[in-house]
């Protein structure tokens, strides 16, 4: 039980990524597909921040920091970059879905397909 409690962020991250994969593969509504990608990015970001945690550590900022170890700061920088990139990707995907709705009147991925073969 102690094992699971200590590893809880990683279990949560794996759950998020698994659910997101299920959504991306099997759901047909385009908005749900975009939400699946947002969930997956949340899962990967959580994994990266969680791997930097050190027990009893403080935030990695030198302004008035108390004594003791600090958590790793590089994963926090990587996560920030990843969040920014995913904002751009989600904005682009949402714009494309609005265009698709304008053209075909439907956001079901089966009914709004034009390219086949």
């Amino acid at each position: 039980m102690e094992h699971v409690a200590g590893n809880f962020p990683f279990v949560a991250s794996a759950l998020l990524i698994g659910i997101a994969f299920y959504i991306i593969l099997f759901k047909r509504n385009l908005i749900k597909l975009i939400m699946g990608i947002a969930l997956m990015s949340s899962g990967v970001n959580l994994f990266i921040v969680a791997l930097g945690y050190r027990t009893g550590g403080n935030a990695p900022i030198y302004t008035d920091v108390p004594e003791g170890p600090m958590v790793l700061s590089v994963p926090q920088a990587l996560t920030l970059t990843s969040i920014v990139i995913n904002v751009a990707v989600l904005a682009l995907m949402l714009t494309m879905v609005i265009h698709t709705y304008r053209h075909t009147g439907d956001i079901d991925s089966e009914k709004s397909r034009k390219l086949k073969g």
């Binding site: 935030a59 900022i61 030198y62 302004t63 008035d64 920091v65 108390p66 004594e67 920030l80 920014v84 904002v87 904005a91 949402l94 714009t95 609005i98």
Partner: protein, 153 residues
């Protein structure tokens, strides 16, 4: 367009949100924050205005030309600061030791001195400017596009 109470409160609130956002941008090298985070805070203020007033009324204030110029200027300031150290290497922190932003902080826990960090606070300002302009343009364009209109020139 929401009710008069919401519009009045939003008008007052945007000022505080703007100040807080600029504080987060400016103190990125001392406390959590920096360019993107502060820019996102300011854009949340813009979204408050967008929700309180309709996007149709807001599009006269946020014109596409102004936002594009702001965005490109932010990116160019960032690139010029990177190229300015090219005498040694790209991104060389040439402001360490100079009077503006050049003080070297003591190691360990300290109360935090604003004039440290080299060119990192200047880059925070450039990135904050770019993020404000870019994300406002994205939000306004999607809000107008869903209604069938375009951004004003």
């Amino acid at each position: 367009m929401l009710s008069k109470i919401v519009r009045t409160v939003a008008n007052q609130l945007i000022l505080f949100i703007l100040v807080f956002g600029l504080y987060v941008i400016a103190h990125g090298h001392l406390t959590p924050g920096g360019g993107f985070q502060g820019g996102a805070v300011v854009v949340s203020g813009v979204v408050t205005l967008l929700v309180a007033f309709s996007s149709h009324d807001l599009k006269k204030s946020l014109r596409e030309r102004v936002l594009t110029i702001m965005e490109s200027t932010g990116a160019l300031i960032f690139a010029i600061l990177g190229f300015a150290g090219l005498g040694t290497v790209f991104f060389y922190n040439f402001l360490v030791g100079s009077p503006i932003f050049g003080r070297i902080p003591p190691t360990g826990s300290n109360p935090g001195d604003f004039w440290t960090g080299g060119f990192i606070p200047l880059m925070n300002f450039a990135v904050g400017l770019k993020v404000i302009a870019g994300l406002s343009a994205v939000i306004l364009a999607i809000a107008l596009f869903a209604r069938g209109e375009e951004m004003e020139e």
